[in-house]
């Protein structure tokens, strides 16, 4: 049992079933009498629905908005100033607002037959001018995504703190325009939902591939007008979430409605084309930045205009305010400066509504800030790592309140950068760069550093006035009669390995063998309430709750154990998984046996709470704890065809105390692979009519095994002062820095050619276009005004 607790690289409990193909996903499920559902989706980006004609003979198998009259539209209010409401109906109502919006649903015994029916539904839509570009949509009030608004702005945020005074002191001013393409999240498994009515339980049972079963239960009960007790949501194995599945989906409402109305099972499984079209909902930001620095490159002030292409609808419950809010708040990054001004526009367009993708806004802000940091270095003629280093918040300054009032709890940001520089072999690569590669490709070295607010608590979300504010988390632990442990938490695990890491935390406190700890997640019928798994929160919040719940049992164990040993309670203590008395010790198995099977052996005043406890956790400071990392990459750029090869990639990360370093590595690698996707491959382009141009993997490229380098990962471990065991969240971090790192490396390589790129993804065409635009080799130096 040695080496199973916090800090151990134990293998993941869940991998046995996954590696043997024995996971159970919604797509694997088949209930008697189950029907399959296909959605008919809008082929038009913006239009007014004139008529929907159900096909003759199949009228009963087709449903439109009017048929679901009892279902409320999804409306996500927020108290943020200027925020406007957008109602998203389960099926389009009045207007269609993006290509891929569900207009009708068709039901049949098989999916193919349901698609046959969908083909025969006639829809007549009066086309309206589509709003495809966020800047144009912001400027144009004559055409509006939501007719009852007077412009196309979901939300505008103005933030100012000490800007004018600091900017005045600057010797160097650097301006950049930086943008990120729209992306889909592309989990291995898309949306999937199966619902049926259970007469015995008098309940609607909804199996959904979701990160947040409890809030989906709240949502379904609210929108369908059912008692919460009548709804149970089970999230079985989930093939990746990434934020795509942390909100209430219109499809979930539709399937739940069908099952409730017809009292039999219905299932919908999103296909890849639906995902790429109706799920193109993340990352698209534009930044216009002006950085003010001294002659050494110390950042004094930052002026920013951020535009988020919000798409058509604001999601429930987190609202679209999340993205511009996070962008505004996190743009200053890990840096120590005191002047900041930011105007952020979240614009409604005729695209799928923005969802919070792994890294939420921070991939964008890191990209913008880190490219700007390199630009400052060039403007003052210093090495980018050096200028970055000097601007990072120093370890001595922790805890540190930054210019956007974020509270950084702990860490040594500079050390991570210096270690990354050492591990990547910076000096040797600079020398090789001078000599050049034999095949005439250009070498570049790039760095990026970020810090990441993880596990935000109530005060952060409450400030946005969300319809549902996340707060505490709870866990239930129960010692079973044979001395095993059942552990229940309301978060979910879809790749994060939480069936293992939560068990490791319980083991740390109780010493029970991991093989005897069962972790039960993802079922509102079996677990205490939690808002779920997102925002790098679960290991901090649910992990903290598991620790607290386990600790609650300890005095009960000692009381029973002391009685069994016939010694005074004060003379017994819990150690190494047993209760130790003056003469001997009793095992947890003996205590469990006494409680469940031989109660006559229990002390007369035994705690009637028994061997089971549900206890919550909230961090001491609940504004979030900050993980951070520095990434370093070496790239080779083929300027003839525009190809980029990543020759080496180093990550130095610090997520506080690591519960399982192998799981941290895995999360970091997966995130970084997605970051490489953002940097080089992934893009959901639209034409002028709002038609998506990447609807299959032939057009939407993802990095594959040959495009993802072998990341070399190093860890620092600075505990958070505010959480149980000093753990910080780390699920998202890997995805944040790669675009910035890779672009900085490519720009480093191309600097002698006068080329600087600042628009994702770095396609061969973008690279070659920039090369052919480049005029004089000195153009870059001249850009700094």
């Amino acid at each position: 049992m040695a080496g199973q607790g916090i800090g151990s690289r134990v293998q993941r409990k869940e991998d046995v079933r996954y590696l043997h193909g024995r996971g159970s996903f919604v797509s694997d499920m088949m209930l008697p009498g189950q029907s399959e559902v296909a959605f008919l989706r809008s082929p038009i980006a913006h239009g007014r629905i004139r008529r929907i004609v159900k096909p003759a003979g199949s009228e009963d198998a087709v449903f439109v908005r009017a048929d679901l009259a009892s279902v409320k539209p999804i409306v996500a209010p927020s108290t943020l100033p200027t925020y406007k409401l957008s109602g998203q109906h389960p099926l389009a109502h009045g207007k269609v607002r993006f290509v891929g919006e569900a207009v009708a649903m068709c039901v049949a015994r098989t999916r193919a037959a349901a698609e046959d029916i969908a083909e025969r539904v006639e829809i007549d839509i009066e086309e309206l001018p589509p709003l495809v570009d966020a800047h144009a949509a912001r400027a144009d009030r004559s055409v509006r995504v939501h007719d009852d608004w007077d412009d196309n702005l979901f939300l505008t945020i103005n933030y100012e703190n000490g800007f004018e005074a600091k900017a005045k002191e600057a010797a160097v001013v650097v301006r950049r325009q930086i943008s990120l393409a729209r992306q889909a999240m592309v989990p291995l498994e898309g949306k999937a939902v199966l619902a049926h009515w259970d007469d015995r339980a008098d309940q609607l049972i909804v199996y959904s591939s979701t990160q947040t079963p409890h809030i989906i239960r709240v949502g379904i009960s609210q929108m369908l007008g059912l008692d919460e007790g009548q709804v149970r949501v089970i999230s079985p194995d989930v093939g990746g979430g990434f934020g795509y599945k942390c909100v209430l989906q219109p499809e979930e409402l539709c399937i739940a409605w069908l099952a409730h109305k017809f009292r039999r099972p219905f299932r919908y499984v999103e296909d890849r084309r639906e995902h790429l079209v109706a799920g193109a909902n993340s990352r698209q930001h534009h930044y216009a930045l002006t950085a003010y620095a001294d002659e050494k490159g110390h950042l004094l002030a930052l002026d920013a205009e951020v535009t988020v292409d919000g798409g058509a609808y604001s999601m429930w419950p987190f609202t679209i305010g999340l993205e511009p809010g996070q962008a505004t708040g996190n743009l200053p990054g890990p840096y120590d400066f005191r002047g900041y001004r930011c105007r952020t526009f979240c614009v409604a367009t005729n695209k799928p509504g923005f969802l919070p993708y792994r890294g939420v806004a921070r991939t964008g802000v890191c990209f913008a800030m880190e490219l700007t940091m390199d630009a400052i270095a060039r403007a003052v003629g210093r090495e980018p790592w050096e200028v970055r280093h000097d601007n990072l918040v120093a370890a001595e300054a922790m805890p540190y309140n930054n210019v956007s009032r974020k509270h950084f709890d702990s860490g040594d940001y500079r050390k991570s950068l210096l270690l990354a520089k050492e591990k990547i072999g910076f000096t040797a690569w600079r020398a090789r760069q001078r000599d050049g590669l034999p095949d005439s490709r250009r070498i570049g070295i790039g760095f990026a550093t970020y810090c990441e607010q993880s596990a935000h608590g109530t005060s952060v979300f409450a400030a946005w006035g969300l319809p549902l504010v996340p707060g505490y988390d709870q866990a239930t632990v129960r010692l079973t009669a044979d001395g095993g442990l059942e552990l229940r938490a309301g978060v979910h695990s879809h790749g994060q390995g939480m069936e293992t890491t939560l068990a490791q935390i319980a083991h740390e406190v109780l010493g029970i063998d991991l093989a005897k700890i069962r972790v039960i997640l993802g079922d509102t019928g079996q677990t205490p309430y939690s808002t779920g798994t997102y925002a790098s929160r679960s290991i901090v919040m649910a992990g903290g709750a598991v620790a607290n719940a386990c600790k609650t049992l300890l005095p009960r164990f000692v009381a029973i154990g002391a009685h069994l040993m016939q010694c005074a309670v004060a003379s017994a203590r819990f150690a190494d998984g047993q209760v130790v008395g003056p003469q001997r010790a009793v095992l947890l198995r003996d205590i469990a046996e006494a409680w469940y099977l031989r109660p006559e052996r229990l002390p007369p005043d035994v705690d009637m709470g028994g061997l089971e406890a549900t206890v919550g956790f909230r961090p001491k400071v609940d504004t979030g704890v900050f993980s951070y990392a520095s990434h370093a990459a070496i790239v080779a750029v083929d300027t003839e065809v525009g190809h980029i090869e990543i020759l080496d990639y180093v990550i130095v990360e610090d997520c506080g105390t690591m519960v399982n370093p192998m799981v941290v590595d895995g999360q970091t690698m997966g995130g970084a692979a997605q970051g490489i996707g953002t940097a080089i491959y992934e893009e959901s382009p639209y034409d002028a009519n709002g038609q998506p141009l990447a609807s299959t993997f032939a057009d939407y490229l993802l990095p594959g095994p040959t495009e993802v380098p072998s990341f070399r990962i190093y860890h620092l471990e600075t505990p958070s002062p505010y959480t149980e065991f000093g753990i910080k969240g780390m699920g998202e971090g890997g995805a944040i820095a790669p675009p910035a790192t890779i672009f900085n490396a490519v720009n480093d390589a191309l600097r002698p050619l006068g080329v600087e790129l600042a628009e994702t993804p770095l396609t061969p065409r973008r690279l070659l276009e920039a090369l052919s635009r480049a005029k004089a080799p000195t153009a870059i130096g001249g850009k700094a005004a």
Partner: protein
């Protein structure tokens, strides 16, 4: 994304396949590896009434040596050709080309005949076989005929094939000892169709060369002027300027970026050929 309804038959031989195709009068499609047709069915871009599955037809599966050529059945998979490395003297190039198609899972099923018939402008076989001067054997209800590979593809996804005809085999001339080939494609990632591709064959003794570029809007294009120059002058003819000019002449509709990419790719294919 499920296919519309269709019937499915697995014919006993090529003659029956041809007859089934003829009887369906355009309503049938051959199914080989399904690597191109599968997605088209699921996207409902192809909606045949009948699928004629020839994937297991023995007549299409052989690789045989003839006097001066290798005859490869239309149903031979990319993987089988890849795995024949070391056993195809005079046609090693085929193994190299096959190994570069998609990734192994696709190569295990995808066939050379299916690839030629599908005629994706960026596909490997139409380009490679054109450069190698291969012939395509076609079989239909009224008999067999042969077409040169560089004339078989008429344009994007269009080939010289009647409704009842099947690609039975390709016949690839064995290269002479002194012949050198070059094949280069630029893909954004492993397994993707290329952005630009080029194939070249150069026989220094016979002073002959064939040069083609692919991944254009239509069929691979022959680059006769450059081929002649290389046959004459060898490495001296391989310059960036020459490939730019050749690409511009062969594919005038390319924009400046595509031209640049194709010229670079063509140059790299040529450099493989002329390298001492």
């Amino acid at each position: 994304m499920k296919a519309a309804i269709f019937d499915y038959v697995r014919p006993r031989d090529l003659a029956e396949a041809a007859r089934l195709l003829a009887d369906a009068k355009g309503g049938a499609k051959l199914l080989a590896g399904g690597q191109s047709l599968g997605p088209m069915l699921n996207l409902r871009l192809a909606r045949p009434r009948l699928l004629v599955d020839v994937a297991r037809l023995g007549e299409l599966r052989g690789i045989e040596a003839r006097d001066s050529a290798w005859r490869i059945g239309g149903g031979v998979t990319h993987a089988q050709i890849e795995d024949a490395a070391g056993r195809l003297p005079g046609a090693e190039v085929l193994c190299a080309v096959a190994a570069g198609i998609a990734y192994r899972a696709v190569r295990n099923r995808g066939t050379i005949g299916g690839s030629l018939a599908h005629a994706d402008p960026a596909a490997d076989w139409p380009l490679a076989l054109a450069a190698l001067g291969a012939d395509i054997e076609i079989c239909g209800i009224s008999g067999a005929r042969t077409v040169a590979a560089d004339r078989f593809m008429k344009g994007a996804f269009t080939v010289d094939l009647a409704e009842d005809e099947v690609v039975a085999a390709v016949s690839v001339p064995k290269l002479s000892g002194g012949a050198r080939w070059g094949y280069y494609k630029f893909c954004r990632k492993t397994g993707e169709f290329p952005e630009a591709s080029a194939a070249a064959l150069f026989d220094a003794e016979r002073r002959s060369a064939r040069v083609f570029i692919g991944a254009l809007s239509g069929a691979p294009q022959r680059i006769p002027a450059l081929a002649a120059a290389i046959a004459e002058r060898g490495a001296a003819a391989c310059t960036r300027e020459a490939t730019e000019a050749a690409v511009t002449a062969a594919a005038p509709d390319l924009d400046v970026i595509d031209r640049r990419m194709h010229a670079a790719v063509l140059l790299r294919a040529l450099q493989q050929v002329v390298r001492a």
